[in-house]
């Protein structure tokens, strides 16, 4: 009996204490941000700290590595936990979140603040990513980091062998051949490879292939939505990629960004497609053996003008956020010219045209004019909620072709069949 009494008392105490905790606190504004670890997330964390000290709004940060961020956000948003008020999104994830209606439409909120839409200073291709459907639909996010691919090449070697800056992919191939044959004494005594690329399955292979694919006139889907990667244009593009592979360091079929970066920094490869985040390391004496020797330009073309793949970081407000209005205030503040300038100084390319022309920033980042040209002409990855699955399948077959496991036409046929299967399941 004493035990029963004791237990009853215990339960009463538990219930009492939990109800006490539930009595409302004096309302204090609070926001929770899901950010990616690394330079992009660091800039936003810095902005959050500044915002907190200016406005008194408490900002909690939930930080995840890139490889976990997508799943964390999607699980929380689908489970409607309301854990986050703002989330950072890599742009290829956006269609999935939009398709599942997990984000807040920003237009009505902006209208409440007396704004008809996003600031006209944002780069058109960046803001187009934030709309669903692409370019024309409602606004669900604002662009924060304005990455798009650039073509990196060794200016000194091009001058040495009187090569013109590469304007087309056949030019690139010819230059790769010349440099690899003639330049036999690389920065560390070894040879210099003409080109270096990433062909590890998944994101890496696809990102390095898309600009070639597009330049050759390839399209992933026809207007009716049927996959067409095995078109003659697509196969020709893959054949060129494999030709370039002959001038790429051995093992490139499993390379990721760090391998490509290492080869360029060590001076053991002459050209590559890469992202702006790498630019600053080339002038860092502790990492680079090629200081002052690199040039950054827009992507080469072929049958069509060159187009880069865009890769922006966006910030959105989940539909489950309980503080959407307050979250929007922070979002507008963090993507303002002043705050984005601070982010740019930390190494993140901006998404505002005015900042690409900012004197101090251009002095610090001489590639800004090229970056803006690349960004304004860039293309997004195909906008489908099944992109992760499609990219995975496509990447597997690109990697198989590059590792010599499949001939190019066969690889593209099999890729097309797999993509078709994914789309059929989705229907």
């Amino acid at each position: 009996m004493r035990l029963t009494k004791f237990l009853t008392l215990l339960i009463v105490l538990c219930v009492a204490s939990s109800t006490c905790q539930r009595t409302p606190h004096p309302v204090k504004k609070q926001l929770t941000l899901a950010v990616v670890s690394g330079v992009e997330g660091d800039a936003l964390k810095q902005a959050a700290a500044a915002y907190q000290s200016q406005t008194g709004t408490t900002i909690n940060i939930a930080e995840f590595p890139y490889s976990n961020l997508f799943e964390k956000e999607l699980i929380d948003l689908k489970a409607r936990t309301g854990a986050y008020d703002l989330i950072m999104l890599d742009d290829p994830w956006f269609p999935r979140f939009a398709y599942e209606q997990l984000m807040t439409d920003l237009t009505p909120l902006l209208q409440k603040r007396g704004q008809s839409g996003p600031d006209a200073d944002f780069v058109g291709t960046s803001i187009a990513l934030c709309r669903h459907p692409y370019q024309t639909g409602s606004l669900y996010a604002l662009p924060y980091v304005g990455n798009s691919q650039l073509f990196f090449y060794r200016k000194d070697l091009f001058e040495k062998y009187s090569l013109k800056p590469p304007a087309t992919w056949p030019d690139v191939l010819a230059a790769a051949k010349t440099i690899q044959e003639k330049e036999t004494e690389g920065a560390n005594g070894g040879k210099v490879y003409g080109y270096v690329m990433r062909a590890a399955q998944g994101n890496a292979a696809v990102a390095d292939f898309m600009p070639i694919f597009w330049a050759f006139g390839g399209e992933m889907f026809d207007p009716s939505g049927k996959p067409t990667v095995n078109s003659p244009e697509g196969i020709a593009a893959l054949e060129l990629m494999l030709e370039l592979g002959k001038y790429s360091p051995p093992g490139y079929a499993n390379f990721n960004a760090d391998d490509v970066g290492a080869h360029l920094l060590q001076g053991t490869a002459a050209m590559s497609i890469n992202w702006p985040a790498w630019i600053s390391s080339f002038s860092d004496a502790s990492k680079s053996k090629v200081i002052g020797k690199m040039e950054f330009t827009t992507l080469p073309g072929a049958q069509k003008p060159g187009q880069a793949e865009i890769g922006n970081w966006l910030i959105a407000i989940p539909r489950t956020s309980l503080n959407a209005a307050e979250a929007l205030e922070f979002l507008i503040w963090a993507t303002s010219a002043e705050q984005m300038r601070a982010s740019a100084l930390r190494g993140n390319p901006p998404t505002r045209k005015s900042l690409f022309h900012d004197k101090e920033l251009v002095a610090k980042y001489p590639a800004y004019p090229a970056q803006l040209r690349s960004l304004e002409n860039s293309r997004p990855r195909p906008r489908t909620p099944y992109w992760n699955e499609i990219e995975n399948a496509f990447g597997i077959f690109l990697s198989k072709a590059n590792s010599g496991e499949l001939p190019p036409a066969e690889a593209m046929n099999q890729a097309n069949a797999e993509i078709e299967k994914i789309l059929q399941r989705a229907r």
Binding site: L3, F70, E71, L74, R96, A199, A200, Q201, G202, P249, P250, G251, Y252, A253, N254, F255, D259, A262, H263, T268, Y386, N388, E389, N392, A393, I396, F397, S399, K400, N402, S403, G404, E405, L406, E418, R425, R427
Partner: protein, 295 residues
């Protein structure tokens, strides 16, 4: 008083209350962390999201039959497990037999053999990834010193060498475990059967075949069971070494399940694949136990 009636007496009720209370937290934890997720994953493996809503059925399991990636990943898993297990077992047994004798420096050998096993798998993956790097790695660097042409030795990037590389890393890391268990088994064998075999004039091979092996069976069973289960669900080191590549060359079923669940967000299909893997693991375990636990 008959036993059954005493069981329900008031006194017994009270004396059962306290143990029940003590067990309750464990049961609650088990229910929330094991039973509920298990039931939930069975449920979602039988549900398909369609435009018309949720449909019940065996759709996910039917899809397995036409999924080339699934079949290939399964085949890779079994090749990987069989090759790694064979190497680990033979090497581990050999080492255990060698170090079961009184030789000088035995302690040092044993201690140094255990180092790979004590390292976290992720660390092993990263270290080997660096060592196997075709351009800057220690392995090709060393081979070059001996004048060997390493141009075609791209290890994790070659469809032919990648599987071999990931198997070699597993063998490197887990042979010590097999060795340790088998050594413990050997040391538990009494001397008498060996003396009897000696008196009967049996050869060394006969002694090994008819005395050591049968008496070592329990240890062999344990080590094979544990390693097989681990090998069939291998994830971390392959994820770090090759991420399943190049192409699909080293994709095992766990990697594919992970991708399906957390990259493509198809939890139902991932759950269905997990159950197939679970069933296969169970079948293999039962076979082991049948073969090794009875004469």
């Amino acid at each position: 008083m008959p036993k059954s009636r005493r069981f329900f007496s008031a006194h017994a009720k009270r004396s059962l209350l306290l143990p029940a209370l003590f067990i309750a937290p464990a049961i609650a934890v088990l229910l929330t962390l094991s039973i509920y997720p298990l039931i939930y994953s069975i449920t979602i493996s039988l549900q398909e999201e369609t435009s018309a809503g949720i449909e019940w059925g065996l759709g996910h399991f039917a899809r397995l039959a036409s999924d080339n990636f699934f079949r290939t990943a399964m085949a890779h898993t079994f090749v990987y497990a069989a090759a790694a297990l064979t190497c680990e077992f033979l090497l581990g047994l050999g080492l255990a037999l060698l170090l079961n004798k009184q030789i000088r420096g035995r302690g040092l050998f044993r201690a140094s053999l255990l180092v790979p096993m004590m390292l976290p798998t992720v660390v092993v993956g990263v270290v080997w990834r660096l060592m196997l790097n075709p351009n800057f790695g220690a392995i090709n660097g060393t081979l070059k010193q001996f004048g060997i042409d390493t141009e075609s030795l791209t290890w994790t990037a070659s469809p032919r060498l990648a599987m071999l590389s990931v198997i070699a890393v597993d063998v490197w890391q887990w042979t010590p475990f097999v060795f340790l268990v088998l050594l413990a088994g050997l040391q538990a064998i009494p001397q008498e059967p060996y003396e009897a075999a000696l008196i009967d004039g049996s050869s060394r091979w006969q002694t090994f075949r008819h005395v050591t092996l049968p008496l070592l069976k329990p240890a062999i069973l344990i080590v094979l069971l544990l390693r097989t289960m681990d090998l069939l669900r291998v994830f971390d080191q392959i994820f770090i070494l090759t991420e399943g590549g190049p192409g699909f060359a080293t994709e095992t079923i766990s990697l594919y399940i992970y991708r399906t669940a957390f990259r493509f967000f198809d939890f139902g299909y991932a759950a269905a694949m997990s159950f197939v893997l679970l069933a296969l693991t169970n079948v293999i375990s039962v076979i082991y136990i049948r073969f090794l636990s009875h004469r």
